[in-house]
Symmetry: C2
């Protein structure tokens, strides 16, 4: 997502457990009402123990029961929209419209995972029936399905105070898979987190869900997160934030006596390639789309297109001029936190030393950010690789390349990316087949003639990509595939039918799709 | 798998690159013909570079082409059976029958993955079609499928010189997923590895597969393996061996600038619970099955039942006596290497200090192992947790428990296991439902009224389990699910049909099962 203020995770403690802190309105710099208390070691241990106790009863919940949980949370969030959005607006300076949209997405995400649970086939039930007569050895009855991992720690993200926070995609997918969830609230929006956390707790309590199934913990610093990740009963971690903080969590988790998986979505500059035919046909239109995409949400999207490639020449000059012109008309925005604003300013200043600055307004407030447009030659990014790194905020770097071989060369040293985008005519795209192929090993999602921001929450979505875009390119944090981060297969050999989970019983009482002796089927198995 | 001689991976270098070594016949202690040369840094780099170059062309191979590769390797292995098995027998002291069986399994594994590639649906193709009219925002066309990771390093295992070595399950599944494979031969059977490696290379060459798709490297020590895992172009690791070596590889891989997944299958004592009704009904029969299971292959199976729980009482005494009697009749066997034999002897000696030894023959040769049966009370393993650890070789520890709560307590401190087994009557099993449930979070496969050795290679198999049984309980190294270790989803948004992989094209030219707008289907998509 970018270099946020959570990068302190990698460094020394900032807070003392039990100490109180307040949220700050980034638009005014004024502290907001409400005190939040950094969790003590005892509170952390208590929460994890309750989660541990809830794990087995929660793993017994049927898909229908899990769906009911998620739907109840969704409904409660929707009916508390006004209060949540108002507080989130104060804590993040994101617009009310954007936050209403984000709340809608959060509600839809919960309902989408509910539908996955209700349908039930996601568990990848596999059945190989016995062949007692097989020679030289009889074949046993072997069945397997996905089961929960155990308590999952979710870190709220600063840039999506709803969709990637307390009741966001990580929480929804971890609960859908049957795991207890412990959320570490992001310190930039504790009030929003608290409101959402209460909504979740109440919604789960109404349905008689074990209390330990969900917990919310606060921390102005990093110690609570660390303690949660190091707790032996925690079995997985979901995180969206900076590369530095994500890597620190990965390192903590892999050094545990029992290492656990960390799903960290961290850092991506989302290259966008404007191919020659498209530049010629609709350069102005692409320029407009690009400016909208890199400035939406004050450039604080994980998928912001931060680096744009265009073939050097007169048309490229026009394209760059158009972007500079459009960017000049975008109002200064307020970034999420003072820390993010300071980093953005430092990043812009640093780039100015390397590349040509085409549009850079002045910042009038501590947390505000002016749009920044930079231009450079391909040779410069070849020798200054730090230019490829994400600069979180409303900035873009336009790179003038000479020919297609430059783009292929770029794919060889490009860090892993959440997305890559190509704008091209049909002829451009046919000629770019090697580029498309070369991008695949490093990129989670490749977009043609569109923009990477606005991640669709659907079955086919992959919000992943090679390191450092994410910690593990085999998974996604958006879309229904995200549930597979929090489950593992368990195999039952020669079980009596009554001792099997319903998903694996001969009669297929849930009517799910299963892989039976190598064929997908909803049929019963003849006893 | 156990504490093998590969544990040196965790310690200092043992060999100098370019130096030659020979295999030793563990049954005689005599060096075998043939010199093998530890790969130099240049050779390692050359092999990885060739693998890197092969990755893109190999990723273009259709499922049919990948299947042809695997089938050609399988056929070539089968036709070279005699020579391979003869050499493996000399290098491992495993019986010719066992090795013929293992070669058959290796061939079948390759063919099973070939059938998965041919059928083609394993790629998890997902298609969400566009809704250009959707409000407030149009829905883009989003499609995703699994693609290869890139070069995979496979470590040959000492205890399965064929099925978990050069052309074993890791290699078969990594190739099936479209990845180049670099095998580090196990130093205990370099001649077998060399024969199999030549068979694989020739079989691939006959089909015009890029040369870099497969490489075999030797090392008497650990430096070659380390260098491979640290190479930036290596994208995943498959390993079967000791906990110490596996953890060393996990630590190396997670400390890389770009961390990569390690699939290590390491250590399991595979608890077996004899429930009271079954003990009463068929104690003698279970004793016989158990002795056969823990002594097969001289106790060198990853799934050897190493710890057995039986309720204290007269029947337990009879059961223990019967095991001791049967075990006393099992001949001394030859272990795979001197290192394994030394560790087995030390482990047996160490246990003798803690628990009662019931049968322990004398060892007549450097690499030979006598069967060892130990007995203790539950209270003893509660306070001496090292008794639960795997003792690789033909040994078993019988634990007398008082009541069912002891077993539940055991699941709370039990390390992660590949398997757990229950022997019980229908009534026993109904009463043991809490135990079965408590085992699930820590165990990959739960077996009822059977034995864990003899892992069926099928679609539903899970040869996994919580750490330290494996590095990542979300995956398996046996069965067709093993292919999912070596693939990751890539998403294509708004692609022209002709630029999509065949698996995702509207017309579904491969006729695979796909998840289209939330429904499984083999249908075409109307344009």
């Amino acid at each position: 997502m970018g270099v946020g203020d959570d990068s302190a995770l990698a460094s020394r403690p900032m807070t003392v457990s039990g100490s109180a802190f307040q949220a700050v309105n980034p638009a005014t710099g004024v502290a907001l009402p409400g005190e939040f208390v950094t969790a003590t070691s005892d509170q952390i241990e208590h929460s994890v123990n309750r989660a541990r106790e809830a794990a087995v009863p929660l793993s017994r919940f049927t898909g229908t029961q899990r769906a009911a949980m998620l739907r109840n949370v969704a409904a409660a969030l929707a009916s508390n929209e006004q209060e949540i959005v108002a507080r989130a607006h104060q804590e993040t300076a994101l617009t009310l419209d954007r936050l209403r949209g984000e709340l809608g997405r959060t509600v839809n995400q919960l309902r989408l995972f509910a539908s996955v649970c209700e349908e039930g086939s996601w568990v990848n039930a596999r059945i190989d029936t016995a062949q007692p007569e097989r020679k030289p050895l009889p074949k046993p009855d072997v069945r397997s399905m996905l089961r929960p991992l155990g308590p999952v720690v979710v870190f709220g993200a600063s840039n999506f105070p709803l969709a990637f926070s307390v009741a966001g995609g990580d929480t929804a997918s971890a609960l859908a898979a049957g795991n207890p969830v412990l959320v570490k609230a992001h310190p930039a929006h504790p009030g929003t987190s608290d409101l959402v956390g209460r909504v979740v707790s109440t919604a789960l309590k109404e349905l008689g869900v074990p209390e330990g199934a969900f917990a919310l913990l606060f921390d102005a610093g990093v110690e609570v997160g660390r303690a949660l990740v190091m707790n032996p009963f925690v079995k997985a971690v979901g995180f969206t934030g900076s590369h530095k903080a994500g890597r620190a969590l990965m390192d903590l988790a892999s050094a545990r006596p029992e290492p656990i998986p960390v799903f960290a979505e961290m850092s991506s500059s989302n290259p966008l390639f404007v191919l020659p035919g498209a530049l010629c046909e609709r350069g102005d239109q692409i320029a407009a789309g690009l400016v909208a995409s890199f400035t939406v949400g004050v450039g604080q999207f994980c998928t912001k297109p931060g680096i744009v490639f265009v073939q050097a020449g007169r048309r490229a000059d026009d394209f760059v001029a158009r972007i500079a012109e459009l960017a000049g008309g975008v109002n200064e925005g307020v970034l999420l936190t003072r820390g993010i604003a300071d980093k953005y300013r430092a990043g812009v200043k640093n780039r100015t030393g390397f590349v040509r600055s085409l549009a850079a307004g002045t910042q009038t407030q501590a947390c505000s950010a002016a749009v920044a447009v930079f231009k450079t030659e391909f040779a410069n990014i070849r020798s200054n690789r730090e230019l490829i790194e994400e600069l979180f905020g409303p900035s873009v770097l336009i790179v003038l390349y000479q020919d297609a071989s430059d783009l292929l060369e770029f794919t060889r040293f490009m860090p892993g990316q959440l997305t890559a985008t190509l704008h091209g005519t049909d002829a451009d795209l046919r000629q770019a087949s090697s580029l498309m192929e070369a991008l695949q090993p490093r990129v989670g999602r490749i977009i043609v003639n569109g923009y990477p921001t606005g991640v669709e929450v659907c079955h086919a979505m992959v919000h992943g990509g090679a390191y450092p875009a994410t910690s593990d390119s085999r998974f996604t944090s958006v879309g229904t595939l995200a549930i597979y981060r929090f489950a593992r297969p368990v195999c039952f050999q020669n079980f009596p039918d009554e001792a099997l989970p319903d998903e694996l019983k001969d009669a297929n009482p849930l009517g799910i799709l299963r892989f039976v002796n190598g064929q997908m089927s909803r049929e019963k198995i003849a006893p």
